[in-house]
């Protein structure tokens, strides 16, 4: 396994760095420091092989991205951050999963396929998110609440079904 450990620090740097840059451009030092700390902490977690620390930092960065979106920071930066965050989070868990196993048959092939799959998913995600950033719909509050409820219920049903299947 060669590529995942090499790419992982860059992805983490990008995940923390792009929202950090967006915050820095708008002159918010407090958030910059928080993101910097989260990024460094995550990197430490990677070197110490503690994926739980990665989960915590990824959640923190995601919250910072959400706050950034609500604070009208440039969406492009935040989207890149989200994509990098997802990539780093996935790669860290993949790396950890592979390290827990004593021996992996054709590990290079497995890694290549995994990275290819991840790139494809992130590419589709990036295209769809990019397209949706360009679409503007006007909704009143009641419709938005209805849509929210529908989405939440639908997601809840879907996820509970998936969990049952997975178990």
């Amino acid at each position: 396994m060669k590529w995942t450990p090499r790419l992982l620090p860059y992805c983490i740097a990008l995940a923390a760095g792009t929202p950090l840059a967006a915050y820095a451009l708008s002159g918010r030092t407090g958030q910059v420091l928080i993101l910097l700390a989260l990024g460094v902490w995550w990197l430490v977690g990677v070197y110490r092989k503690q994926p739980s620390l990665g989960n915590l930092c990824a959640t923190g960065i995601l919250l910072m991205v959400m706050i950034g979106a609500l604070s009208d920071l440039p969406s492009g930066w935040l989207l890149v951050g989200t994509l990098a965050l997802l990539a780093a989070w996935d790669m860290e868990h993949f790396y950890h999963r592979c390290h827990l196993v004593a021996r992996i048959e054709a590990s290079d092939d497995l890694e290549r396929r995994h990275l290819g799959q991840l790139a494809l998913i992130l590419g589709i995600g990036a295209i769809l998110a990019g397209l949706s950033l360009g679409v503007h719909l006007r909704l009143n509050f009641a419709v938005a609440v209805l849509l929210t409820l529908l989405a939440a219920l639908g997601l809840r049903r879907l996820l509970s079904r998936l969990r049952r299947q997975s178990d």
């Binding site: 959400m66 969406s75 989207l79 989200t82 048959e105 799959q117 998110a129 998936l162 997975s166």
Partner: protein, 428 residues
């Protein structure tokens, strides 16, 4: 927290905040995680249909010799992007080579082979299930399965080197062998003199006695040598198993039994084994190499245990042994054993007791303490009295200090005494 839960919570939060804040940007930012979950869902593994076979290069092996375990898993279902196969080693076996876990891809119809080498101490080892976890490439959805692949490995005990153990049972069998049969005939050792009968070889005529009688001739008789029935009784009562620093005295008893079985079978005797303790584990009497294998297998399975019935030797089933045969008890002995052993001797069984010394075995850990020294001394006196009781009852005893070689101890105890004396009493 599971990754799927974490991602779901993040997604919920994005959507809820997005709708309440009427922020289209947040909805857009939630799209990549949603695509990620959807991709994982589409590729989530279906019902696992796997066929597993476990093979051992041998199911019966001597102690400390390596055994190769091969597990082949064939995928009879759909493609599995990531699979983790893990096998649990039975307690007592140690891994010599390879790993007990294997990960990788398993496309439909293909196989994955896990191979490792183990070794272990005497015992029976049961391999049971194999755990399989299959996940989609992103690792969010998984399926687990426990596949049955049972196999049993017998690790035979170490067989100590022993040349010959002289025994003299009251009754022997019909076949020629090395054991004096207490009957005149052709043999090596002088047995007696009888009147000459036509057909007796001329060189057997005892001229000295014949010269004293004017009308008759006398011939020498030699003691016939036959094979005998030998019953080995291994004491597996837990109360007689002493453990020091993870080492068990019972293991020494097992090794001694294996050595004795080997030497008696090599002499052509019919040997049987009874493991007495947890219950009765009996190996049917037999001769030769096949019987040796059977006995070693019986010893590999032998374990100490508790039983209310078999707490003392009183319920030793003598029917399992041929009448007036040679019985060999391998036991550290306890206080009430001499009564039963004397009773067996009075019933016509010729007894031999091989007793690994528990006092010297345990004293290694107590030797440094002043109080320990006194305790050891007292225990030694108690044991000396116990052994004397047996010797006084005409039962030879091999008092084996397990720090010494078994062969050396056996010959020191019974190897040098004359046969006629050995049948009556043996001093060590």
């Amino acid at each position: 927290m599971k990754r799927l839960s974490l991602l779901s919570i993040g997604l919920y939060l994005f959507l809820i905040v997005a709708f309440f804040a009427l922020s289209g940007e947040l909805v857009a930012l939630a799209i990549p995680p949603a695509v990620y979950i959807l991709a994982a869902l589409l590729q989530s593994p279906e019902e696992l249909r796997l066929q597993v076979t476990r093979t051992l290069n041998t199911t019966c092996v001597s102690q400390e010799l390596p055994v190769e375990v091969t597990i082949v898993i064939q995928n009879l279902g759909s493609h599995l992007a990531e699979i983790l196969v893990s096998d649990m080693l039975p307690e007592g076996l140690s891994l010599v080579e390879g790993e007990t876990q294997l990960g990788g891809r398993l496309p439909a119809g293909e196989t994955l082979t896990l191979r490792y080498v183990v070794k272990g101490l005497r015992g029976t080892y049961e391999f049971r299930n194999i755990h399989v976890v299959a996940t989609e490439p992103l690792g969010l959805f998984r399926r687990r399965a426990r596949l049955e692949a049972p196999e049993v490995l017998l690790v035979l005990p170490e067989v100590l080197r022993l040349r010959r153990v002289p025994i003299r049972p009251l009754q022997t069998r019909g076949y020629a062998g090395p054991i004096p049969a207490r009957a005149g005939g052709s043999g090596v050792d002088f047995f007696g003199v009888r009147e000459y009968q036509p057909g007796d070889p001329q060189r057997w005529i005892n001229w000295r006695i014949s010269a004293r009688h004017s009308r008759s001739l006398f011939t020498n008789e030699f003691e016939q040598e036959r094979v005998a029935d030998v019953g080995l009784i291994l004491d597996a009562r837990r109360r007689n198993d002493y453990r020091v620093n993870g080492e068990s005295l019972f293991e020494y008893s097992v090794r001694a039994t294996a050595a004795l079985a080997g030497v008696f079978l090599n002499d052509g005797n019919r040997v049987t084994l009874l493991v007495y303790g947890r219950g009765l584990e009996w190996t049917f009497p037999g001769y030769g190499k096949v019987q040796r294998e059977q006995i070693l297998r019986g010893l590999a399975r032998a374990k100490t245990g508790d039983s209310l019935v078999f707490e003392s030797l009183d319920y030793l089933p003598t029917r399992l042994f041929a009448a007036k045969s040679q019985l060999v008890l391998i036991s550290p002995l306890c206080e009430e054993d001499p009564q039963m052993l004397s009773r067996l001797r009075s019933r016509g069984y010729q007894m031999l007791v091989v007793s690994p010394d528990p006092v010297r075995f345990e004293s290694r850990t107590l030797a440094d303490q002043e109080l320990g020294k006194v305790a050891v001394r007292l225990a030694q006196l108690e044991r000396a009295l116990l052994l004397r009781k047996l010797r006084n009852a005409g039962i030879p005893v091999v008092d084996w200090d397990v720090n010494q070689a078994f062969e050396q101890t056996v010959y020191a105890a019974i190897g040098r005494t004359p046969l006629w004396f050995r049948a009556v009493e043996v001093s060590s």
